[in-house]
Amino acid sequence: MSNVATTAPAPAAPPPVEKLKIKVDGREIEVPKLMPDWQGRLQPTTMLQACQIAGAEVPHYCYHPKLPVAGNCRMCLVEFGTPMMGPDRKPVLNPDGTPKIAKSVLPYEPGTPRGAIACATPISPGMEIYPGSAATQQMREAVLESLLINHPLDCPICDQAGECKLQEYSVEHGQANSRFVETKVHKPKAVDLGPRIVLDDERCILCTRCIRFSRDIAGDDALGIVNRGSYNTIAAWKEGAFDNNYTLNTVDLCPVGALTSRDFRFKMRVWFLKETRSVCTSCSTGCNITIGSREDVIHRYEPRDNDAVNAAWMCDAGRLNYKWVGRPDRLKEVRRRNADGTSDRIPWETAIREITARLSNAVSGSVAVVASARQTTEELHLLKKLANRFGAITDSVPRTGEADRLLVSADRNPNSNGARLTGIAYTEMGIRLPEIAEGIRSGSIRTLVVFGEDVTQHGIGADLLARLETLVVSDILPNPTTAAAHYLLPGCAHAEKRGTYINGKGRLQRFLKAVEPHGDARPEWEFLRELVTAVTAQAVPATLEGLFNEMSDGIPAFGGVRWAGIGDLGVNVTI
């Protein structure tokens, strides 16, 4: 099959990987000689990468797989040894024939082990690394003690508490008591670093992750270290000048509580947050996210690692685009508008029954469907089924903005390709909207089904909507189109349901439900399924998994992928 969906682009016969034999805590393992660095270029494998392959934890602060290596926190110090060489440049052997290992020691003090930072030291053949040795443990203790000298120990008011590496490593590798009796150096607190970032300099351990991210990933060299010695502080070149669209990633990167999000500051302790795997809907990049919610309130979005989509980052605009989900004016009731302009709240069963009755009487060709490329692929598939029953014109609404060089796409719909693949929209999205408007004006279109869009903004004004016999609208927030609806069906935000999106590059990704819908609102695919079953008298799978699998069977581009096969990172489909 030519269009088999895969989890990664199929590599063309990988070249044989050169491997080295080393020992980690006495266990012999083989590791590749070269491994990808932060930019994906092959570089000599470091001791830290080798230990990770061996499954031995090496604590670290400044090292991050997606950032250049700085090697300044010293937390990843490990004791190691290399095969001893004789004067003839041949390995010296033990009596039992194994190579003799010379442990790295201080040159002037041969009894004292000399550690090396695992993040920046390449491995060599026959090397032995001891991440579990007593000497390594002692080095970690000493480094932590040094890092905590000026730390304010204000965990009760620190937003990072609960996901703080300083807390975790202190418990695991640190000392129980502080020996420091002098006065701690106090640094600026609640510094206004930028519009979305608040900095607490006292908590900073100067790992420079934020500096490296801003300089090397975001391309905005706004941060640096000022002052000397114990007075070292992170600062923006001008107060409040750290304002690019990726600043909040530094909050995730910060291993301690120095950089805090102004939006999330003092909002909720992280251990209460339920984490749900989801996808950002702000543009067609489809960054993988984790939704942090507690008791049906969304508190934050965080990027989730996916090298095929967003690496480990997301933009600030997308990250903060969650507040509308909890807006108090969300549509919560199923409503039917009467002839005199008043409207009643009706139960779902009544609404589905009456809409079915109205649609059943509709003449073929007199129905149009305006869907939204913000809907899930499953919902669009169901709408297409509905449209096929009446030979209806379908389309969705384009939404564009400015792209940037990192993550933001010009196409601001999360599921444009889903709309195209299901047959709802055409390559040029919105091309048939004028046709629909003309059809309503001429009276050939008597029934309009609108999902998730305000068509009055797109050429089908309130005057045209008033001419319709039946206007069925489903949306999340009120707008002029929902006000004109004969039947108003409250829908769900993506965080309130499950489904899939296909991003701009053809990555099919699924997202899960984080919070409960508001009021009577139900996931669109649920009531669409009821409607399609009633109107077409065909059996439609009753579960989302079944629905997805049915859709996948009908669209060759999907290559027969199953719901279970999408996984957390998604699969590529042909677009």
């Binding site: 965990c155 009760p156 003092f266």
Partner: protein, 188 residues
């Protein structure tokens, strides 16, 4: 390991149960004589007469203020987390919340509620509190006319809790920082 306890057969006298009945009545009459005849009651005329609880008694948990009358709680929500019956509910201040009473503490709860109907007076909140801001005090008889009335809010908890001084670490940090602001201050 099982240990078999040998059960001795009762003697004839014991099987009449009379010695036990007489023994029991002796205790009863002793207390009758003490309380009724000699006028030394063993019971208490509650609620006219209140029981004074001993030191260390675990009564209702209340929030306390420091010696300067400022809220000590910094809304770390550890008590909410540890509370076994989920009686505590804290609303954190959020990014736009009012500043804390104490200058350097940065944070204090916007709302702090304890549902006294759910509270089991276990004392874990007091034990876990890093700020010494909540204490189980001596109130043991809590009444209200509705369920809502038994949910004590922050203001009520602070009023009932009273003052409990302490080391005032945030204040000391602030003083230290102010001294360093004037660096170098001390000349020999």
């Amino acid at each position: 390991m099982t240990k078999v306890v040998e059960r001795k057969p009762l003697s004839l006298l014991e099987r009449t149960y009379l010695p036990s009945i007489v023994g029991g009545l002796q205790v009863t009459w002793k207390h009758f004589a003490k309380s009724v005849l000699k006028g030394k009651p063993l019971t208490m005329e509650y609620p006219e007469e209140k029981w004074v609880v001993p030191e260390g008694y675990r009564g209702a948990p209340y929030l306390v203020k420091d010696q300067e009358g400022d809220t000590k709680c910094v809304s770390c929500q550890l008590c909410e987390f540890i509370c076994p019956p989920k009686a505590i509910r804290i609303t954190p201040p959020g990014p736009d919340g009012a500043p804390a009473d104490r200058a350097n503490a940065e944070k204090m709860p916007k709302e702090f509620e304890i549902n006294m109907l759910r509270c089991i007076f276990c004392g874990l909140c007091q034990e876990v509190c890093p700020e010494e801001a909540i204490f189980l005090q001596r109130d043991y008889s809590l009444t209200g006319t509705s369920r809502e009335a038994m949910v004590y809010n922050k203001q009520r908890l602070l009023e009932l809790g009273g003052i409990h001084g302490g080391i005032q670490k945030w204040k000391h940090k602030l003083e230290e920082a102010r001294e360093q602001e004037a660096f170098p201050v001390r000349e020999a």
